[in-house]
């Protein structure tokens, strides 16, 4: 497969020394390193880049876009968001992480609010594989723990997913469908919950495994020809009605 682009708003890292220390190369750097270690060709882009680093050229060469965002979802321009949406519809894979669920591209692709409940404080999450035959679960144990994280709780206002791969259990009593598959047009979308900026989640082995699997799964396939617009009848191509 081709290039994976890891996009990060890169705001917490610049403002908060704790996050900067946790992710010295940015969250995008940590994610990219995990993917590169597995052999993927990876590049990164951030909110601060011109056009957020997501020009037509970059998107055209991107097979899968991994997206981390949180506090700056509203700062993404409508134009770039729309460009991402159109590229997904045309076949690019899209893997929004954590609060990337609130990003403009994801909410536009879902058509719902993507609302959740949440709680800060660093409690334990246990991520359960509920679809052990799914390729995004390749090589995983039946469950794994994220020792400290922000809690996300149901209801999660998204359309009924094509497949539910993971469901998370939280120490405080909540559950969350934390790995969901969708398709929009020719594009594959995998929304993955874990990944708060304050914890070293993107250095965790199981998380890196999930991201490699997700990128592999979301890569475009050739597909069939598709013709839209006005057409002649099949039964009499030279005629009409």
């Amino acid at each position: 497969m081709g290039t994976v682009t890891v996009w990060n708003e890169n705001v917490h890292e610049m403002r908060d020394p704790v996050v900067a220390e946790r992710y010295p190369d940015g969250i995008h750097g940590a994610i990219a390193a995990g993917l590169a270690a597995d052999g993927f060709e990876v590049q990164t882009a951030t909110l601060q880049d011109a056009q957020h680093g997501l020009t037509d050229d970059v998107l055209a060469e991107t097979d899968v876009l991994v997206w981390w965002s949180h506090c700056a979802n509203d700062e993404v321009s409508d134009e770039v968001a729309e460009r991402v949406v159109e590229r997904v519809q045309a076949g690019m894979g899209f893997v929004p992480l954590h609060s990337g669920k609130n990003s403009k591209p994801f909410t536009r692709l879902m058509g719902t609010t993507c609302d959740i409940k949440y709680r800060h404080g660093g409690e334990t999450e246990r991520v359960w594989v509920v679809d052990p035959g799914h390729p995004i679960a390749d090589g995983l144990p039946e469950s794994f723990e994220v020792p400290e994280t922000e809690m996300y709780g149901e209801p999660y206002d998204v359309p009924e997913p094509d497949q539910t791969v993971f469901v998370s259990w939280f120490e405080g009593g909540e559950v969350f469908r934390s790995g969901l598959c969708y398709r929009r047009g020719r594009g594959r979308i995998f929304a993955f919950r874990p990944g708060h900026e304050a914890y070293p989640i993107f250095f965790q082995d199981e998380i890196r495994q999930v991201l490699c699997n997700a990128v592999e799964w979301a890569a475009p396939t050739q597909g069939a020809e598709a013709v839209y617009g006005e057409v002649k009848p099949q039964t009499d191509p030279d005629g009409g009605y």
Copy 2:
């Protein structure tokens, strides 16, 4: 159930004498009459009304919004479109007809282009029930003919539907998934293909039966409480982490 609002762009009727003769009370009038005859409480609204007739008050009292549009999809204001989307997410049923598939509310709820192929000319469509146990098919024969219509052909660029109720056969060699069910948030959506302005389709018995069934199916239900935002733990509501 409560009020059904039938919305029509009402443009062809004003410009084209053939359409005006075909639908002397407008397409909205014909649809509303069919629903009223079945006992529904119905009101109508059109593009030309202030706020297209879809004010907060009108939407608040609307249980199901039936939507016909074609040539004026772009003339619907973004503000009204967004208001419809939010009301669907909050529970209002939504039944886009014919080119209502290209309307702003429907494409925003789907997250896809909703592109199709098409052909004018008045050929025959045979609508097949592929899910005979579905309530939207209540009381229908296994198939019925629309004698003259515009053709819509696959691929239809929409997300995989929750249920496919109807698939149409066209004289010229095409097929189309012509009755599709979705949910977004608390709202139920039924996209129904038939209904070109040049043919008396909304006076046809089977079409009227489908619309009555669809409105019944799409009506809001009570549902459960839903809490979003920051919350205390279930396991220790007074404490935290």
Copy 3:
């Protein structure tokens, strides 16, 4: 709607004094009382009845079959199981509870093993509504607790459901998709997890609410005509090829 039949293997109640005291009228009696209190016309049947109480006549007049079973799933005759399956395919609603997931009718309708993990011991379950707009969640709080129960944990080997209505959290660290909707033929199926014989779960208000909602949801609808077998062409009914 018509008659609801509540079926129970009725074995624990006969063997175990604790269960007999907990459910003096049997589990079927407790479930039937909850439904009757909500206005449904209810009858009961058990494994010990001739043909397990599920004769052709009983099934023909049954709109929805609620099914509780656990230790005696293998004692249900293949003939009766097949009869139930065929009646579901023809439109009867089916609501398997607890280990009814291992019953012959449910596993035949699913085509999977329906395997789970489990633990006895009476720990706490919190049932979360993940689809607050679904009619089976009508009138419920966003979550409710079952104070003591047997744990069921993922993975739950069932086909991807049409809708996931409930997901449960367990004190011991597991999660479970505890309310799942399916359709087979014209029949609606709702598999609901709670309900161990050792705890007074079927006297709990929220559980009774769910069962009333589920029975309402699973009731048959009229649907459309369906013709199977050899047919003449639509385009030339008198001719052929």
Copy 4:
């Protein structure tokens, strides 16, 4: 990927000289040749072999089972059918063709009657790609014609599919969902309609392309660990309740 096993009841070929001439190496031979030409490792098995050629050993080494059957569906032993079902649940891909929809393994995996309507006579089928982004459609035109075939018409009594890849149009006025994806357990299933014994359908390029794509798509993936049965709590592995 590993071995593809092509199974054929091989009855028409033995009884009917027209079929024998059409498929001199059997339908299984024609299908196997098409797959082998694309680089797959292929073996064949037929109803007449001991255990229908589907022993534990054969199934254990089979990654994808392609299945053609028609008039002898009832002659497949329950034991072999059950073995195939269990192997699919454990991960083997399964591709039933034509009346393989009535085979014991497929109907058991679906939990429905799989009934259809049909007509003999050699009319034209046009197979439309309705999901152009699906890998089973890789490299196909937007539609292709099967010049002469048996008609299958809706309603097709199967569960709502995970994805609908193809819908067929028939000269006589019917439509059919002719390429449907399912999963049961870890196994992927693709039910494909075309392929009557009297016509050279399995020599047609587009059909061969679909079968190669389907086999590739249905191949097992590694997946995650899955633990079933009685377990200790995650929160206190040494304790209990």
